[in-house]
C-alpha cells in the first residue's frame, strides 16, 4: 500500500511540476491543482497509513490512526481551494484585459525589458 500511495504522490507531483512550467495560465493552474492534490495525500500519509482503525478514542479499539494529519489536510484543502479560486479569477481578469492568457509578461509598453522568471 505504501508503494502505491508513494508512487501516486510522485506521479501527481511530477505532472504538476511539468504543467506549472507551461507558458499559459490554464495549464499552470491545473498544474497547481495537481500539486495541491499530491500534497494533500502526502500530508495524509505523514501520520502513517493504517487500515480500519479509529482516529478517536474507542474502548474496544485495537489501535489508532493518527487524527492530526486529517485535520491538517482539511485545513490545507480549504486553503488551496480558496487560493485556486483567487488565481482563476485573477487569470480570467488578466485574460479579459489583455486578450491572451500567456503567463509571461511579454513587453509591456511602459516597462521595457522582460521581468525575470515566468513562475
Amino acid at each position: 500500500m505504501e508503494a502505491l500511495v508513494a508512487s501516486a504522490i510522485g506521479l501527481m507531483t511530477a505532472s504538476g511540476i511539468y504543467l506549472i512550467l507551461r507558458k499559459r495560465t490554464f495549464p499552470v493552474i491545473v498544474g497547481l491543482a495537481m500539486l495541491t492534490y499530491a500534497v494533500n495525500v502526502f500530508l495524509f500519509a505523514s501520520g502513517r497509513l493504517a487500515l480500519n482503525l479509529p482516529p478517536v478514542i474507542l474502548p474496544e479499539a485495537a489501535g489508532y490512526t493518527d487524527p492530526l494529519p486529517q485535520a491538517l489536510v482539511l485545513t490545507a484543502i480549504v486553503i488551496s481551494f480558496g487560493m485556486t479560486a483567487v488565481i482563476v479569477m485573477m487569470a480570467l481578469g488578466a485574460f479579459l484585459e489583455r486578450g491572451d492568457d500567456r503567463i509571461d509578461m511579454g513587453d509591456p509598453p511602459e516597462a521595457p525589458g522582460r521581468p525575470e522568471g515566468g513562475a
Binding site: 500534497v39 502526502f42 500530508l43 491538517l72 487560493m83 483567487v86 488578466a94 522568471g117 513562475a119
Partner: protein
C-alpha cells in the same frame, strides 16, 4: 495568561470583516476605522514590546489547551520587535495611502490591509509550525488583493505570476511540514526542538530533507537567490504604498529562518550540523550581488527600488548565516533599518512616478512639482538603502561586517563593499537623470496633470526617514536590546520550557471527569 498577546491578531481580524460588511460604501468611515485600528495596533505592540523587555517568553495557550496539543502564541523579544515594526510601518503606509488617494482607486483597500496585518502579526507571534503556514496564507491572500489594487492589465498579469509562484511555495511548505511531522510527530516549534535534539541516528537523513524544504520555503518569502524571481515584477507593478508594506513581507521569511533555525534546528544539532550556514552564506552573497547589479541595470525607478530590496535581503542573510550572537543582532538591526528604508524608497518613487507620469529612469522628462524636495527625499532614501553614512544603513552594514570577521572575511567584505558601491552608482545615475537632467528639457506646459496637495503623503515619507535617523541616533540602546534578543534566540531553553511548561498537567476534561 496575558490576553494582550492575541490582540495584534484579533484586532485586525475583527476590524476587516466589519469594514467589508458595514462600511463598504463609505470611504471616510473606512479610513477612520482602519486608521484607528492601526493606531491601536501601534499602542498594543508598544505595550507588548515593553512587557517582553525583561526577556521572559510569555505563552498564550489558545483555548487553554496545553502545548503541544493546542496551538500557542509566544511573545518574546524577537516577536515583540517584529510586531512593533509591522505596526509602525503599517501606520505610515496607511496614512500615505490616504494622503495620496491610493485607497480610493479600488475597493476594499482598508479591509485587505487589515487582513494583511493580521497575517503578518500572526506569523510573528505563533509558536506552531502549521499555524505559521496558516498565517502565511492569510498574509498572502490579502497581499494578492492588495497587489492588484487599482487594476490594469500589467498589474493583473504580474499578480498571476506572483500568486502562481507563491502557491508553489505554499505547496512546498506543506510538503516540508508533512515531512517534519512524519519524522518528529509534532508541529509545535518548541516540541520539534526537543524531539530533534533526541533524534535517533537513522532518522537524520529525512530530518535534513525536511529542514532543507523548509528553508527553501522561507527563501522564497525572503527573496533569496535563486528564488527571488517573483520579487522585481511584483514590487514594481504593485501600487506604491502596497510595495512599501511588502517591505515587511520579505522580512517574514527572514524572521522565519531566524526563528526556526535557532530554535528547532539550532547550529549544534547533530543531524544537521553547519549545513544551513554553509548553504545560506553563498546564497546570501549572490543575492546581494544580483540585487546590486539589478539596481545598476534597472530601467525603471520602481524596479530599481525592488532590486535594492533584494540586495538588502542579501545583506541581512549574510548576517543571519553566521548564526552567532553578533551576527543575529546585526541581522535584526539591519532588518529594522532596511524595512523602514525600503518603504521610504518605495513611497518616494511612487510620488515621483505619479508626478512624472512615467517610471523610466533612463530618459529626462520635464521637472516634476516640488522637484528639489522629492530629489532630496530620494537622495535620503537611496543613501539609506545603499548603506552610506550618516543614516542607519551605514551602522547596519558596519555591524554585519563586524559580525563576519574571521574565516571567509575577504569574500564577504569584498562583496558587501563592492555591492554598496554599485548601488550608489545605480541610484546616483537614476537620480541625476530623473531630477537634474530634467531641468535641461522643456518645462511642463500649462494644464498638465493637476497636482494635488499631498502634505500627508510627504509627512509620512519624512516620518519614515526620521525613523531611520532615530535608529541611527539610538543605535547603541537599540543594538543592545537586539543583542539581548539574539542571545535569547541562541539559548532557546527558556522559550522551550515556557511553551512546554504545562505538558504534564491534567486537562480540564480530565479534571471534570474526576
Amino acid at each position: 495568561m496575558n490576553h494582550w498577546i492575541i490582540a495584534p491578531v484579533l484586532l485586525p481580524a475583527l476590524l476587516a470583516p466589519l469594514i467589508v460588511l458595514s462600511m463598504r460604501h463609505d470611504l471616510t468611515l473606512q479610513r477612520v476605522f482602519s486608521l484607528a485600528g492601526t493606531g491601536a495596533l501601534v499602542a498594543i505592540s508598544a505595550g507588548l514590546l515593553w512587557q517582553s523587555a525583561d526577556g521572559v517568553p510569555q505563552v498564550y495557550f489558545l483555548g487553554d489547551w496545553p502545548a503541544p496539543f493546542g496551538i500557542v502564541l509566544v511573545l518574546d523579544r524577537l516577536a515583540a520587535v517584529m510586531v512593533m515594526l509591522t505596526a509602525l510601518l503599517a501606520l505610515a503606509v496607511q496614512l500615505y495611502a490616504v494622503g495620496t488617494g491610493w485607497d480610493a482607486r479600488g475597493r476594499h483597500f482598508h479591509a485587505l490591509f487589515q487582513f494583511q496585518l493580521m497575517g503578518i502579526c500572526g506569523a510573528f507571534l505563533t509558536g506552531d509550525a502549521f499555524n505559521l503556514f496558516v498565517f502565511f496564507e492569510v498574509l498572502l491572500i490579502a497581499s494578492y488583493g492588495l497587489m492588484i489594487h487599482g487594476g490594469g492589465a500589467d498589474r493583473l498579469r504580474a499578480g498571476v505570476q506572483y500568486i502562481a509562484y507563491n502557491l508553489v511555495g505554499s505547496t512546498l511548505f506543506l510538503f516540508a511540514l508533512g515531512t517534519v511531522y512524519a519524522v518528529t510527530g509534532t508541529l509545535n516549534m518548541a516540541d520539534i526542538a526537543v524531539r530533534v535534539a533526541e533524534m535517533p541516528e537513522g532518522d537524520a537523513a529525512i530530518l535534513r530533507v525536511a529542514a532543507i524544504l523548509l528553508i527553501l520555503v522561507f527563501a522564497i518569502k525572503g527573496a533569496l537567490v535563486p528564488l527571488q524571481f517573483w520579487l522585481p515584477a511584483t514590487y514594481a507593478m504593485a501600487p506604491g504604498p502596497v510595495a512599501a508594506l511588502f517591505a515587511i513581507m520579505t522580512k517574514v521569511g527572514a524572521y522565519a529562518i531566524i526563528r526556526i533555525y535557532t530554535l528547532a534546528f539550532p547550529p549544534g544539532t547533530a543531524a544537521t550540523g553547519t549545513m544551513f550556514a554553509d548553504l545560506l552564506m553563498p546564497a546570501a552573497l549572490v543575492t546581494l550581488a544580483v540585487g546590486a547589479v539589478g539596481v545598476l541595470g534597472a530601467t525603471g525607478l520602481a524596479r530599481q527600488a525592488a532590486f535594492a530590496g533584494i540586495a538588502s535581503m542579501g545583506t541581512l542573510f549574510v548576517a543571519v548565516a553566521t548564526f552567532s550572537p553578533e551576527g543575529i543582532a546585526a541581522a535584526l538591526y539591519y532588518l529594522v533599518h532596511s524595512t523602514l528604508a525600503g518603504a521610504a524608497l518605495f513611497l518616494v518613487v511612487d510620488l515621483v512616478v505619479a508626478r512624472r507620469g512615467s517610471d523610466t529612469a533612463g530618459s529626462a522628462l520635464p521637472p516634476v512639482a516640488q522637484n528639489g524636495l522629492l530629489a532630496a527625499l530620494f537622495f535620503a532614501a537611496a543613501i539609506a538603502m545603499a548603506g552610506m553614512p550618516p543614516v542607519s544603513g551605514f551602522v547596519g552594514k558596519l555591524l554585519v561586517m563586524d559580525a563576519t570577521r574571521g574565516e571567509g572575511m575577504a569574500l564577504v567584505w569584498t562583496t558587501i563593499l563592492v555591492t554598496s558601491f554599485l548601488m550608489i552608482l545605480g541610484f546616483a545615475r537614476a537620480g541625476s537623470t530623473v531630477f537634474w537632467k530634467a531641468h535641461a528639457s522643456a518645462p511642463a506646459e500649462e494644464g498638465g496633470p493637476a497636482h494635488r496637495p499631498e502634505g500627508l503623503a510627504l509627512t509620512m515619507i519624512f516620518a519614515l526617514i526620521a525613523g531611520l535617523v532615530a535608529l541611527t541616533v539610538a543605535a547603541g540602546p537599540v543594538h543592545g536590546f537586539l543583542s539581548d534578543t539574539a542571545a535569547d534566540l541562541l539559548a532557546p531553553q527558556a522559550y522551550i520550557d515556557a511553551v512546554l511548561a504545562r505538558m504534564g498537567e491534567p486537562s480540564d476534561a480530565e479534571l471534570k471527569g474526576k
